[in-house]
C-alpha cells in the first residue's frame, strides 16, 4: 500500500514540476497531451537534479526532498497559468461512445489492466532489467555497490550492468525505493508501466489534437496498445518503452511547433537510453529542419527554432554528458567500427516485415506511409513527421547492418524491441496522413 501511495505521489510531484516548466513554453490550450508531457518533463528534470545533488554528496532522500520542494514551489507559483492549459475531462465525454469505440476502449483497458497485474504480481524477470536497469538501481539504493568514483569497481554500479547506460530510470527506481524504505518488485519496474500509459494516451491525444476525431484517437491508442512486445515491456523494467514514450510526446509538441518542449522531451529519450542521443535527437533535428526549410518565416526564426530545440534537448542532460566525458565513459560498452554485412538487408526485412513480434503492423504502416506520400509531401508538418520516421527506420537499418549490433539482428533479439520504439511515431504518421486526405470532421486543425 505504501509503495502504491509513493507511486502516486511521485507522479503528482513530477507532473507539478513538469507543468511548471511547460507553463513557460506552451502556446496552445487544453491539449490533453500537456498533462502527459508535464509528467514526462518532470520525470527528466527531477532525476537530473537528483543526479547533480548525488554528485555533490547528498543522499537520495535529501536530493528527492530538494527536488520535491522545487516542484511544489514552481507548481505553486505557476498554478494559475497551469490551470489554463491542462485538459478538462468530463465523464460525460464517455456517454456517447459508439459500440465499436467501446470495443476499442475495452481492449485498451485489458492491456493496461494486464500490465498492472504483471507489475503487482510478478518478479523482475528479464535479463537487462536484472542487470543494467534494476540491478544498478538496486545497487544505487543499497549504496554499498555504487560509487561515482571512477577509480573503484563500484563505479556507476558497473559490476551489475553497463556503466555506459544513462541513469534516468536508475535514479527513479532508487529514489522510489528510498522513499519506500525497501526495494520491491513493483518499484523495480513501475516506470515501465507509466511509459506504457504515456504511449497509449499520448498517441490517442496527439491524434485527437490534429484530427479532433474521437474514433481515430481511440483507434490509434488501441493499435499502439496491442503491439505484441508492449505486453511484456509494460512491466519488464526495460527502457525501450521509455524512449518510445518520450519520442511519441515529442511528436505531439512538434506538431504544435513548440520546439522547446520538443527538445525537453527528446532530452528524456537521451536520459533513459543512448538510442536517444544517437538516433532520436538527430532524427527530430532533421524533421524540424525540414519543416523550417519551407516555413513562411525569416531565417532568424528558422535558426532560432533549431537552436531552441537543440538547447532544450541538451541542457537537461549536460550534467550527465559532462560527467561521462570527465570519466571517459562512452556510449556503448562495445567498441564498434562500420562493417557491412551482406545478409543484413534480408535479415532486417525479415525481422521487421515478417516477424510474429509485430505481425502485420510494420508492413501495413510502411506501405500506408509510402502510398500516402503524395498527400503528406504537400503538407509541411506531414513531411516533417514522416521524415522523422523514415530517418529513424533508416538509422536502425544502418545500426543493425553496419555495426556490432548486427549480432542482435542475426540472433533476432534486440532488433525487435529497438524497432518497437518507433511504433508510436509510425501510428501517428499513418493517422496524420489519413487525416490529411480530408476525412476529419473538424475544420479547426493544425495543418501547415
Amino acid at each position: 500500500m505504501l509503495t502504491f501511495l509513493i507511486f502516486l505521489i511521485h507522479i503528482l510531484l513530477n507532473t507539478l514540476l513538469g507543468a511548471g516548466i511547460v507553463s513557460f513554453f506552451q502556446d496552445s490550450k487544453n491539449e490533453n497531451s500537456y498533462l502527459l508531457e508535464s509528467f514526462a518533463i518532470g520525470f527528466v528534470l527531477e532525476t537530473i537534479l537528483i543526479f547533480i545533488l548525488l554528485l555533490s554528496g547528498l543522499s537520495l532522500m535529501v536530493s528527492f526532498l530538494i527536488a520535491s520542494g522545487l516542484a511544489l514551489i514552481l507548481g505553486g507559483l505557476r498554478f494559475q497559468k497551469i490551470k489554463t492549459f491542462l485538459p478538462k475531462f468530463s465523464f460525460s465525454d464517455l456517454k456517447n461512445l459508439k459500440i465499436y469505440e467501446w470495443i476499442l476502449v475495452a481492449l485498451v483497458v485489458e492491456k493496461i489492466g494486464f500490465a498492472f497485474w504483471q507489475l503487482a504480481k510478478t518478479p523482475t524477470y528479464f535479463d537487462d532489467a536484472l542487470t543494467h536497469w534494476s540491478g544498478r538501481a538496486r545497487a544505487l539504493f543499497g549504496g554499498i555497490n555504487w560509487s561515482f568514483d571512477a577509480s573503484v569497481q563500484e563505479f556507476l554500479g558497473s559490476q551489475f550492468g553497463n556503466k555506459e547506460y544513462p541513469l534516468g530510470v536508475i535514479i527513479r527506481r532508487a529514489t522510489d525505493a528510498t522513499l519506500n524504505g525497501s526495494w520491491n518488485e513493483f518499484i523495480a519496474r513501475s516506470d515501465s508501466f507509466l511509459f506504457f500509459i504515456l504511449i497509449i494516451f499520448g498517441v490517442g491525444s496527439i491524434i485527437y489534437q490534429f484530427s479532433k476525431t474521437r474514433w481515430m484517437a481511440l483507434a490509434g491508442a488501441f493499435v499502439v496498445s496491442a503491439i505484441p512486445l508492449h505486453f511484456y515491456h509494460a512491466a519488464a523494467g526495460y527502457v525501450d518503452i521509455g524512449v518510445e514514450a518520450f519520442a511519441v510526446l515529442a511528436i505531439g509538441a512538434l506538431l504544435r511547433k513548440e520546439w522547446i518542449l520538443t527538445g525537453l522531451l527528446i532530452a528524456g529519450t537521451m536520459w533513459v537510453k543512448n538510442d536517444g542521443l544517437v538516433l532520436f535527437f538527430p532524427a527530430f533535428l532533421g524533421g524540424i529542419a525540414l519543416f523550417q526549410l519551407f516555413a513562411d518565416n525569416s531565417w532568424k526564426e528558422k535558426i532560432k527554432s533549431l537552436a531552441q530545440y537543440s538547447f532544450a534537448a541538451f541542457v537537461p542532460v549536460l550534467p550527465w554528458i559532462i560527467f561521462r566525458s570527465l570519466h571517459n565513459v562512452g556510449i556503448s560498452p562495445i567498441k564498434s567500427g562500420f562493417v557491412w554485412h551482406s545478409d543484413a538487408p534480408s535479415l532486417f526485412l525479415q525481422s521487421v516485415f515478417n516477424s510474429p513480434s509485430s505481425s502485420i503492423f510494420w508492413l501495413f504502416c510502411t506501405l500506408f506511409i509510402i502510398g500516402t506520400a503524395p498527400i503528406w509531401l504537400k503538407d509541411k508538418m506531414g513531411r516533417s513527421i514522416a521524415i522523422i520516421f523514415i530517418l529513424l527506420l533508416s538509422a536502425m537499418f544502418v545500426l543493425f547492418s553496419c555495426t556490432n549490433a548486427y549480432v542482435f539482428l542475426q540472433n533476432q533479439t534486440t532488433i525487435h524491441r529497438s524497432i518497437m520504439q518507433l511504433a508510436g511515431i509510425a501510428i501517428i504518421v499513418v493517422f496524420y496522413a489519413y487525416f490529411l486526405m480530408g476525412f476529419s470532421k473538424s475544420k479547426n486543425t493544425v495543418i501547415d
Partner: protein
Amino acid sequence: MKGLLWSFLTLFAIPILAQVSINHPIASNFSAAGTVLELNVPAQYNGSSLLIGWVNTQGQQSAIETSLQSGKHLVELRNNPLWQGTIQTLAISLPGITGTVKKPSFGDEISLFLNPDLQTPRSINFINGYSLFSVKWSYILYGILFLLIPVFYFLQKMTFLKAILLSFLVAWVLFDLRNVANHVAVQQNIRANDFQIAPFVGMQTLIDKADQNIGEASWSQEALPGVYHSYTQYNLAEKSYIRFRKKPRLQDKKGIQYILTQDPKNRQVVDSHAGIAIVKTKKKKK
C-alpha cells in the same frame, strides 16, 4: 529406437544453459509430411522449456524450443523448413515425457492455434506467434485484410484509403483478440506456479538462504548458467558484492567471504539449493 546424444552450444533463444542434451527419443523413421508432435507432459514440467531435435535421412539436424503445458501438448512443426522428408530420429531434452507424431485432426488444429505462447526469458525480444492449419497467423490476417478492402470499398462505399485503414483495424482487432486469450493463459500459468516463472521457479529459496548466510559480509559468484547469474546478482544487490576473478591476485583486497557456485570443490558449503552452493571462503591468516 536408438538414443541420440545431441550437444548444442548456447542457442540465442535459450540463455538458460550453455549446453543442452537432447537425448530422450520420441520417434524414429517416419515421414514428416503434414505431421505434428503430440506430447504427454507431466505436471512438474508445466511452463518449462523443452528442446525438440531431429535429424532427417539427409543428415540435416534441427532443433526448436517450446514452452510446455502439462497434459496433452501439441507442437506445430509443419512451418519448419527442415521438418520434411523422412525423419530418422526425433528426440527431446527432458525425461519422463512421452509423445507421438501424428496428423492433426480438426480439434488438434484448433488446439495448435490456441497453444499458449508462455513467458520465457526470450519473450522480451521475440514473440513466437501462432499458426492455424499450419498457416502463419500473420498470413491469415493479411488475407482477411485484403478480403475486407473490397468489402468496405465496394459494398460500404468507402474511399479506398478508409477501406484500407478500417480493414487493418479489423485485422488488428482479430490479432489482438488472439493475444488477449494468450494473456489469460500466461496469467493462469504464472498463478499455477505460485507467481514464479520458469526458469526461476524455486530460486527464491536460494536467495533467502544466501541472504541469511551472507548477512553483512561480502559475496561473489562464479559463473552461474545463463540468467541465473543475473537473477542472483540482482536479488543480492544490496549486499557488498565483489566481481569474481579467476586470478586471486586481481581480487579486491577486501576479500570475498561467500561465493555462490555450482562447483564447490573442497570448499565449505554452508547451504545450497537448486544445484547452487553457498560456499564460505577461508579467512586469510594474519
